[in-house]
Structures are given as C-alpha cells and as structure tokens.
C-alpha cells in the first residue's frame, strides 16, 4: 500500500467512524403560513410556470394556477390556486434551506440574501430563469417582508399585477 492510499484510508475511516444521532432534531423557525397566501400566489405566477419551478423535477417545486397542479383532475390555468397548493408551496420554500431560513427569521428578516431563494430571484446567483426582482421592488418586498414576519400585502398585489 502506498503512502497516499494509507492516508485516504485513514480519512475515509474517520469520516465513517461515528453514526448519526437518531435522536438529533433541528428546530426550524419559519415565517408564518398564515401570512403566506399572497406570497405563494406571487411566487406561483413569477416562478411556478411549467418549464420552471412548476416542473415536477425541481427541488423547489411550486404548485398553482399558472403551472403544476396538485389535484389530479386539475390543469394549468384551470381552478384557482388552492389552499392545498399553497400549503405545498409553503413547505417547498421553508424546506429548501431550513437552517438558513431559521437564521433569517430569527434575525427578523435581516440579510435575506443569505437564502438562495432571494439571491436567485434577484439574479445575484446564476439563475436560468433570469433576474425576477430588484432589491426593494414590490416583488422583492413581497418575499422579504414575509421573511421578516409581516407580509407587505400591497407590495404582493403590485408585484402580481406587474407580470404577464
């Protein structure tokens, strides 16, 4: 065995030495579901088209009127976005980066750009779907105000109205 093989074996052995703690739990602080509806509708319209986050293969998967539907008998552009779809959208958003989401929420929504969701939407991180909001514009405020605990409903309405 060469010296490098020995080093690699020791490193791999150390990496596998401890089993994960089955009782370990991570407490997640998430923005309130009650304040999410208008945020979810905005995200569905902006991000949830069938070719983007309304595609079943996406990590961040969104359901709603403008894209993927939750009910098997519904279709894009069919019924209004349902509460079940908004529940699913909420879980998608909150579950994407739960630890970072917790930090942002615990900091009252400060520095929301820590979340990939915000960076991608602002286009400050590579995003095939392009730049969808600018920091401080209605769409951005719709998302970040929700992260801060009080959804800016006027911003969400304005944002929903500015996209086709």
């Amino acid at each position: 065995m060469t010296r490098w093989s020995l080093v690699i074996a020791i490193v791999l052995g150390a990496a596998c030495a401890s089993a994960p703690d089955p009782n370990a739990r991570t407490t997640v602080a998430a923005p309130d579901r009650k304040n999410f509806d208008s945020v979810g509708i905005y995200l569905d319209k902006t991000c949830g088209t069938l070719d983007c986050h309304g595609h079943i293969a996406r990590n961040l998967k969104l359901y709603g009127y403008y894209g993927l539907r939750f009910a098997p008998d519904d279709f894009p552009g069919g019924g209004d976005t349902s509460p079940r779809e908004l529940d699913a959208d909420y879980r998608s958003i909150v579950g994407l980066e739960p630890e970072i989401m917790t930090q942002v929420v615990n900091d009252g929504g400060a520095r929301p750009e820590r979340l990939t969701l915000v960076r991608k939407a602002r286009g400050t991180e590579q995003h095939k779907g392009g730049t969808l909001v600018q920091a401080g514009d209605p769409g951005d405020r719709c998302i970040t105000s929700w992260l801060g605990g009080t959804t800016d409903e006027d911003a969400c309405k304005a944002a929903i109205g500015t996209i086709p």
Binding site: K45, C47, T49, L50, D51, C52, H53, G54, H55, I56, Y66, G67, L68, R69, F70, A71, P72, D74, F75, P76, G77, K128, G129, G130, T131, L132, I163, P164
Partner: protein
Amino acid sequence: MKRLLVVTVAAAAIGACGDPVHSNAVDALGGETYGLRPGPTHRPGQPCLVCHGGAGPGKPEFAVAGTIFQTVDALDFLQGAEVTLTDSAGNEITLRTNQTGNFYFPASNWTIAYPMTVKVAYKGVEVQMKTHVGRDGSCSSCHSDPVSPSAVGHVYLVADPKAFPK
C-alpha cells in the same frame, strides 16, 4: 505507458456513454410523424429543443421553436401566424409559422434573457400567452397533449372553431 492507455480507454468509454436522460428523451419522440421528412416542417407539436437544443442530434440549434394550431380541439396546423417573442432585455423578434404551424429561431442569433413573453397574431386575432416563458425555448415541453396537472395542451389561436378567422 500502460497507465496512459487505461486512462485513455476509460475517458473514451465515459465520453461514449453520453447523457442517458437526453438519449431517452430523443428516443421517446419516436419516428417522423405525418409522413413528413426531416426539415422545417417536420414533427409539428413535438418539443423541438429536445433534438435542436444543442445536445443533438438535430441541427441547427434553436433558441426557441414551436408549433401553433388553429383550435383547441383539433390538430389543424396554423400557417402564416405571427409569433412575437420578447425577452426581459427588451429584444423582440417576430416569426411566421410555416405550412405545419412550425416556427423557430437559431440559437446562434439570440441568447434569450429569460423570462420571455409570447404573443400570437393571425388575421386580426391576437392572443397573449397567459404566463411568461421561464427557461425553456421549446413550446411543447409544457404545451403537450393531453391536458393534465403538468401539461397545458397544444398551442392554439382560438378555442371555438367558429371564432377562427377566415
């Protein structure tokens, strides 16, 4: 020398494998349709960029391509429709559909800044797509039949055949 040979063979083998997801998508399209030969009118209604998206086997590569049909209930091609595409950088192009309703634009001439909006016009009827296109220049990736929770059906000008402009 022996090690170099092994590395070369391994690299060639990996390269030869390609992308099985893409290969499966190409295979799923099946053979040519409507008795048409490969060319500008072929495979109407299929997701063009599966083959013409840069990974082959179709050439040239397209930035955007699709098919427009006349009505919602039938697959009658719409020839002569104007399809206007506007990306988020303000670039706008208008394309005209051919005999099988197909339109396309080469990728070498346009890198689309998504999101992009789409409008179809024909003999005074103008239809704006309800949503923007977020990232896929292949209309039929989403506009496939039958309508389902994840598919919106083929692109058509009017729902009611009586409303189709003569």
